[in-house]
């Protein structure tokens, strides 16, 4: 088995088993610590999916922010040394939970089994990874394209603030002939990653971005108003 596959299944095992501890632990503080491992595992899965920026945000916001908030809430609101009988779940709710979760999971399982994406043709990037992993002759993506982009720093730098369509036109205009321009555009478009996220976030998604900032402010104020002590 290839080493990346082995690490992947190890990560998957870590994520799933620690999320089982999250839902099963009697002591709520143990559940919080297991939640930390589950968040780390999900971040590792984002890295496997080549979403490095999302993985970094996952670490910063979930592990650094939400988990600390949860720990604070636990320590402020309950006696962590012993679990009180009121917080322990009864047999009825336990089995209801198991039944509902099983039904949901079997539903997901059936849906996923109906999804027929051919293993080799899922995506160009995935196809290259696949070829590298199992030893099939690699196709022409990835390495070649990255080299092509690095060979033309002046053109790539000049189009870095443009939208995709105008970047394409500009690259064709600046290259020696149209075919080279198109090739460079394809390579550039596939190699940009983080740049693309930032570009989309303040371009195409500028309205949701601003709405979310207002929502964060509202949530912050709401949290302060809710927990403040009444002065009368």
């Amino acid at each position: 088995m290839a080493i990346s596959s082995f690490v992947f299944w190890l990560t998957a095992l870590m994520t799933v088993s620690s999320s089982l501890v999250v839902v099963g632990a009697r002591n709520i503080l143990h559940a919080a610590f297991a939640l930390c491992t589950a968040f780390l595992g999900v971040g590792a899965l984002y890295v496997f999916l080549h979403a490095d920026f999302v993985a970094a945000v996952q670490l910063i916001v979930y592990v650094g922010g939400i988990l600390v908030l949860i720990m604070f809430a636990i320590m402020f609101s309950s006696n962590v040394a012993e679990d009180t009988s009121a917080e322990r779940r009864g047999w009825f709710s336990m089995w209801t939970g198991v039944a509902v979760a099983l039904v949901v999971f079997i539903g997901i399982l059936l849906l996923v089994r109906r999804l027929e994406v051919p293993l080799h043709e899922q995506n160009k990037y995935a196809a290259v990874d696949y070829a590298n992993t199992v030893g099939v002759a690699p196709s022409t993506v990835s390495g070649d394209e990255l080299a092509l982009v690095k060979k033309h720093p002046d053109i790539v730098g000049a189009v870095s603030t443009l939208s995709d369509e105008s970047a394409k036109a500009e690259m064709i205009k600046r290259s020696a002939n149209p075919e080279d321009g198109l090739k460079l555009y394809d390579a550039w478009h596939q190699s940009k990653g983080h740049y693309g996220i930032g570009h989309k976030l303040v371009g195409e998604y500028i309205l949701p971005f601003e709405v979310v900032s207002v929502l964060l402010l509202a949530a912050l104020l709401g949290a302060v108003v809710i927990v403040r002590k009444e002065l009368n």
Partner: protein, 113 residues
């Protein structure tokens, strides 16, 4: 067995993992009585949704231009919303604890003390 040997390059593997996380979250939401425990279930469900978005963005159709980044941006928004939700919900938990002296949800059954 191909799915086993090419682990990180198969879409359905990610979908199964996120399905398991989702089921765990549902189980916590249904069966836990501790309010913070229910919140943890919600966080697991949001994480499962995030994995699905990024996985479909990576393995989705290549022809749609720039498609492979839209899913990642959706996941970023999910993470931001989860942070806002956690802040408000934990403030609510603390407020409930101040008035009722417990956060076991089966004992918190009146709006006002």
């Amino acid at each position: 067995m191909e799915w086993l040997y090419s682990g990180p390059n198969v879409l359905t593997n990610y979908l199964m993992i996120s399905g398991l996380l989702f089921a765990c979250g549902i189980f916590a939401m249904v069966s836990r009585r501790n309010a913070v425990g229910i919140l943890m279930g919600v966080e697991l469900i949001l994480n499962a949704a995030g994995i699905n978005f990024v996985a479909f963005a990576r393995f989705g159709h290549d022809k749609i231009e720039g498609n492979h980044l839209d899913g990642q941006i959706f996941t970023l928004f999910i993470i931001i919303l989860a942070a806002a939700e956690a802040a408000v919900a934990l403030a609510l938990v603390l407020a409930v604890f101040q008035t009722h002296k417990t956060i076991a949800l089966n004992e918190v059954d009146e709006m006002q003390m």
